[in-house]
């Protein structure tokens, strides 16, 4: 267990769906957690029915939701200010340099990010790649451990069993509160799990994704 955990993910709600059980467990042990959130999810599609947002009001709404979720999880928040869906087109070295500087300020013992190439959304892949590059650029003696989250359907086939599988059942209520803090996202995402054409498979995977938080340890 680390002494300061850095979470590096691109969208408000990635932390809630992806690793909030793990975050809650760290916080229970009084380990500080800082969330470096890449964008404000400006390009989210869910505007509600009836509408609660339009393309121009969505960023501010999601920013407030993000702040609420971080309060719920009791973690520090740093917003990186990139724009949703453009992260992969940024200069990766520049993004990594900025991250490295921010990481050196908190000197984390653990970084949690997405597994590049196995994270489905282009922003996920790009954020994960930049985070890993940032850690790689650090002095070897100061490098934190990196846990990478893979969410592709074929991850086990290609990457093998995850190194870390955490059953977060005990933190499930807190996790659901963090997910629900992202009001604009929670409903749409949960419905997508329910309505998917690959219904049975996805549903069981959806539940498993929430009950178990899996990570691959990155080797440099």
């Amino acid at each position: 267990m680390g002494q300061h955990v850095a979470i590096i993910l691109p969208h408000p709600d990635d932390e809630a769906f992806g690793c909030s059980g793990t975050i809650l467990e760290f916080r229970e042990k009084d380990i500080p957690v800082t969330y470096f959130c890449g964008t404000l999810g400006e390009m989210g599609r869910n505007m509600g029915s009836p509408f609660f947002a339009n393309r121009e009001t969505l960023p501010e709404i999601r920013k407030e939701e993000l702040q609420d979720a971080c309060k719920e999880l009791d973690i520090n928040l740093e917003m990186l200010g990139y724009r949703d869906k453009t992260l992969e087109f940024e200069d990766r070295t520049e993004v990594a340099k900025d991250l490295k500087q921010r990481l050196e300020e908190i000197n984390p013992s653990l970084v949690i990010t997405f597994y590049p190439g196995h994270a489905v959304h282009p922003d996920h892949d790009a954020m994960g790649a930049a985070a890993i590059k940032a850690v790689e650029m650090m002095d070897e003696s100061k490098r934190p451990e990196v846990w990478a989250k893979a969410i592709t359907h074929n991850r086990r086939e290609l990457l093998g069993e995850p190194d870390i599988v955490r059953d977060v059942e005990d933190y499930f209520e807190g996790k659901m509160r963090a997910i629900e803090a992202h009001r604009s996202q929670a409903e749409g995402m949960m419905k997508q799990f329910r309505d998917s054409p690959n219904l049975k498979e996805i549903n069981s995977e959806g539940r498993k994704l929430l009950k178990y938080e899996e990570f691959y340890k990155w080797t440099f």
Partner: protein, 115 residues
């Protein structure tokens, strides 16, 4: 946003004609389309703050609308628009949403750059 009323939108479009305006145009089926349905394809296009001047604008359709802008050097159009709003900054926002309120297409016109 509210359901498009064609006369109101036509007037708003004409009010912004012959002016230097900034355009936001996007269409998307979401970054997870293929993840949730292996038969689907992720497609999308996005331009923000393209500066243009259009000389002619029309909205055409029934329930779901098309908007075409004839610019000095070419064209801009969007299809599938269902809702609109003139926001508190005087920007003309138009978007097409599916039955669950998910944005599929957006065309927005502003006299000042979008943030």
């Amino acid at each position: 946003m509210e359901t498009i009323q064609i006369d109101h939108v036509q007037k708003a479009l004409e009010d912004l004609a012959h002016k230097d305006v900034y355009i936001h145009l996007e269409t998307t089926n979401g970054a997870y389309a293929r993840h949730f349905d292996s038969n689907a394809y992720n497609v999308g296009a996005f331009i923000r703050n393209a500066q243009v001047k259009y000389t002619q604008a029309k909205i055409i359709g029934h329930e779901s609308y098309r908007v075409g802008l004839k610019t000095q050097l070419g064209w801009i159009y969007a299809e599938g628009l269902t809702d609109w709003e003139l926001d508190d900054q005087g920007r003309l926002l138009m978007a097409g949403h599916d039955n669950e309120g998910r944005l599929m297409v957006a065309l927005e016109i502003s006299e000042t750059p979008f943030k």
